[in-house]
């Protein structure tokens, strides 16, 4: 018979070390988040999509509580139940009530999260308002072509067969609007408090149109035109980043987005851009 398992044994120092290690991770994790909240956080919000920030914060609180609770529990267990003397372990291993509780309670929380997520998702992908400003963004290795409609609000037809050095996105010359669409590189201007509707395309590979300050991201997929919309509400200059690996120049694919303070400022700026 083997009595070694019940032999006197003192794992308490090890238990304390491991418990302290877990508590250290807990402290470092929480502490780093507290520090990060001041220095390494989401860039300032410049659109009305603050609801996603609120959602983010809510999830952070909930997951933070879970992170703290699990680590505390484990640390306490490690310290309290380190093998000591001949004290045996318990033998119980089932408890339907406990199982149901910790299934249903997280499930309830997650259902609430899912409902909120669906509501916000539907909002993000709702149809754009009628007064939205139209812009087209075309990704290409490794820059963003931004095309502004003519004064009549139309974007000219395009066809890749017309692509040339002077006509980078292939405007169809037989379309009268092709003369009055302004095509710029990496320079997107929108109007404060006016919805903007962006048609996103790509000429070559998949890129991703990412506006960090606006909480906007949409892949630019060749062969498709994908329309998104949002409402900028903070004048200023921000950046466009590419968020899908598109080749060796992926890291250079920066654009600029400027929120003009009002429609007049935007019109003035656009008039100065000249035409295609």
């Amino acid at each position: 018979m083997d009595s070694e398992s019940f032999a006197p044994r003192d794992e308490r120092p090890a238990g304390r070390w491991m418990g302290v290690l877990i508590l250290f991770i807990l402290a470092a994790g929480v502490g780093s988040f507290v520090y990060a909240a001041h220095y390494w956080w989401l860039p300032p919000l410049a659109s009305t999509l603050g609801i996603t920030d609120d959602m983010f914060n809510a999830i952070l609180v909930a997951t933070g509580i879970a992170f703290i609770a699990v680590h505390l529990f484990v640390a306490i267990a490690l310290i309290r139940f380190a093998a000591y003397g001949r004290r045996p372990a318990a033998h119980w291993h089932e408890h339907l009530g406990a199982e149901l509780t910790w299934t249903l309670v997280p499930a309830a929380g997650l259902v609430i999260l899912a409902i909120l997520a669906e509501i916000v998702w539907a909002r993000v992908y709702s149809p754009p308002p009628a007064n939205a400003q139209l812009v087209e963004v075309t990704g290409r290795q490794f820059l963003w072509y931004i095309r502004y409609p003519s004064p009549d609000g139309r974007l000219a037809a395009t066809d890749p067969k017309f692509i040339s050095a002077g006509n980078p996105i292939g405007l169809d010359p037989s379309d009268p609007d092709s003369k009055t669409n302004a095509v710029l590189e990496n320079d997107l201007h929108v109007v404060n408090n006016r919805p903007v509707r962006i048609a996103i395309r790509s000429l070559d590979v998949i890129h991703s149109f990412f506006l960090p300050n606006f909480r906007v991201k949409q892949d630019a997929v060749p062969g498709r035109t994908i329309v998104i919309w949002f409402v900028p509400n903070r004048p200023g200059q921000y950046q466009i980043a590419c968020a899908q690996l598109c080749g060796v120049g992926h890291y250079t694919m920066r654009g600029n987005i400027t929120v003009e303070p009002d429609q007049a400022a935007f019109d003035a700026w656009l008039a100065k851009q000249g035409q295609h």
Partner: protein, 581 residues
């Protein structure tokens, strides 16, 4: 020692006079094949780790120019490919599965030993092809392990889309076939070759993990096979499954293409999501067994553990679209994936609570294996919780393809799954090699690895919050990332420490292999059947008679027993106050 008919003398139950080649190279013994997998995947882990060190050497000091952009992307791609396919996927089932299944079920070998040998020797050429791709013009593939089309389908789009990409695809096919052959074996063996008395309800959770993993692999790997074959055809035969019309390539418009870029993503992620659960289910099983053994306490909620493993396996097929929330996929479809993705958090939570509860009122023994298993719980919780942000699709819009995602999957894969592999190694090393690993070195390895893992990957959450995209060679062009520099340095230094700590493990592994103290049959006083065999088991595992199983493997600290464990193969647990003759 119990009623098992281990005929110690008769274990000189003939050594076949096998040639070196038959015995060690083309062996059909599952234990040898398991060790072959282990050593090969360990080597690939070192390759993948070295690539990570290269990446971090560059990212910490980008102006230093350690790598040029093409090399950086190649390193990132190959790091992911090697680690996911050639390390994690192959070691969990190929090494642990192969070695343990027949021993844990009381069989002499797998159902199809010859196929088992073939499955290892199908992996090996895959390794060679992938390593060869480093040396072809244009270098290895550089489009991420996810290899999105059309970037990966048209050679001219990037230097990393050349021959290296085709070789990448071919090597993936080898891994997929190797794994499929293995899965057939695991499934059939577990279903059909269990010892008398070993019902499915008495299987250790390690085997439940492997079993469900094998089912997932059988159903998902063929889908990636289809996608990769189609990609190879697009690259070499002029088809256009994934190449949309009218692409601008090197100034020319590509004619006669009518494909769909999103088709690649759907096929890839239909495989890709079950794949990542394949990489966590076996670890969950291993950790359950290790925690139970070293708490001297039955795993809490065995049935719930099995049900949750099954639920995770089932649900894993319904969530792939959460990788594609901003891909241009219909938002309605996206809405459906929100629901299924959030649902999959529930069974994972159940498992976490069950591990924690197992510890409570246990009699905890802090062996190295146990330390890694406990740390798994912490890492899995961290990684799982970050997944919730990503499941909430509106939040994912911002976090998609940022370092937040990198943090998430490294915590669950590179950290949690890796720790289960370490736990399993320290735990089963005595059985595999007949020697004990050095516990002191193990604990030092553990400490620096645990700290190093958190230090390396936790700050990546913050980079993600800042909006730092993935696969960026350099962030200096983005003013909104100007604060990222110090974080990158910290991560790189931590990564170097993490990498260095693994040298302790490698040293310990090989030193113990050659000079470790001889292991007894059941050094951990564990219950599951593999501990009934000698350490290491001989050819045929069991001597003249196969073992018989009398109970489940979690009968620890039963009240009234004289020992705190009742092995599965022992007919009567020794009662207190009696004598056992």
């Amino acid at each position: 020692m119990g009623a098992i008919a281990v005929h110690e003398g008769a274990a000189a139950h003939e050594e076949h006079a096998e040639s070196f080649v038959r015995h060690y190279i083309f062996s059909i013994d599952h234990k040898t094949i398991g060790k072959q997998y282990y050593l090969t995947t360990l080597f690939m882990a070192i390759v993948g780790g070295a690539l990570a060190m290269l990446m971090r050497a560059h990212l910490g000091w980008p102006e230093g120019g350690a790598l040029d952009p093409g090399q950086y992307l190649a390193a990132a791609t190959m790091h992911g490919t090697v680690m996911i396919f050639f390390f994690l996927t192959s070691i969990l089932t190929g090494a642990f599965g192969n070695f343990l299944i027949p021993l844990m079920i009381g069989a002499r070998d797998m159902a199809f030993p010859f196929l088992n040998m073939i499955s290892y020797w199908t992996l090996f050429p895959g390794v060679l092809v992938l390593l060869a791709s480093f040396f072809v013009p244009g270098g290895p593939a550089g489009n991420g392990w996810t290899s999105y089309a059309p970037l990966s389908a048209v050679s001219k789009f990037a230097p990393g889309s050349g021959t290296g990409q085709t070789l990448w695809a071919i090597s993936i096919l080898f891994v997929l076939f190797s794994s499929l052959f293995g899965s057939l074996n695991f499934l059939t063996t577990i279903i059909n070759m269990r010892a008398r008395g070993l019902s499915m309800g008495r299987l250790p959770l390690t085997l439940w993990g492997i079993f469900i993993t094998a089912i997932l692999a059988l159903l998902s790997f063929p889908v990636l096979t289809a996608a990769v074959v189609m990609l190879i055809l697009d690259r070499t035969a002029g088809t256009s499954f994934f190449v949309p019309p009218n692409l601008l390539v090197a100034g020319q418009v590509l004619a006669n293409k009518n494909g769909d870029a999103l088709l690649w993503q759907h096929l890839f992620w239909f495989f890709g999501h079950p794949e990542v659960y394949i990489l966590i289910l076996t670890p969950m099983g291993i950790v359950s067994d290790v925690i139970s053994t070293f708490s001297r306490k039955p795993i809490f909620g065995y049935k719930a553990m099995v049900l949750s493993l099954s639920a995770i396996g089932f649900l894993s097929f319904l969530v792939w679209g959460h990788h594609m929330f901003v891909s241009g996929m219909s938002p309605l479809l996206g809405a459906a994936f929100i629901g299924s993705t959030i649902a999959i958090a529930v069974p994972s939570a159940i498992k976490t609570f069950n591990w924690c509860t197992t510890l409570w009122q246990g009699r905890l023994l802090f062996t190295t294996a146990m330390l890694f298993a406990i740390a798994f719980v912490s890492l899995f919780v961290t990684g799982g919780l970050s997944g919730i942000f990503l499941a909430a699709a509106p939040v994912d819009i911002y976090l998609h393809d940022t370092y937040f995602v990198i943090a998430h999957f490294h915590f669950v894969m590179a950290a949690a799954a890796l720790f289960s592999i370490f736990a399993g190694t320290y735990y089963w090393f005595p059985k595999m090699f007949g020697r004990m690993m050095d516990e002191r070195l193990g604990k030092i390895h553990f400490l620096f690895t645990f700290l190093g893992i958190y230090a390396t990957f936790f700050p990546m959450h913050f980079l993600g919050f800042m909006g730092n995209s993935r696969r960026l060679y350099d962030t200096s062009i983005y003013p909104f990332l100007s604060h990222a520099g110090p974080i990158d340095v910290f991560i790189s230094l931590s990564a170097f420490m993490l990498g260095a700590a693994q040298l302790i493990f490698i040293y310990n592994f090989f030193k113990s292999l050659l000079h470790g103290p001889v292991a007894e049959q059941n050094p951990w006083h564990a219950n599951s059947l593999e501990w009934a065999a000698p350490s290491p088991p001989p050819h045929g595992n069991w001597g003249a008679a196969l073992p018989v199983v009398y109970r489940w493997p979690y009968d620890y600290s039963a009240p009234g027993a004289a020992q705190d464990y009742s092995p599965q193969w022992q007919a009567q647990p020794v009662a207190a106050g009696g004598s056992d003759g």
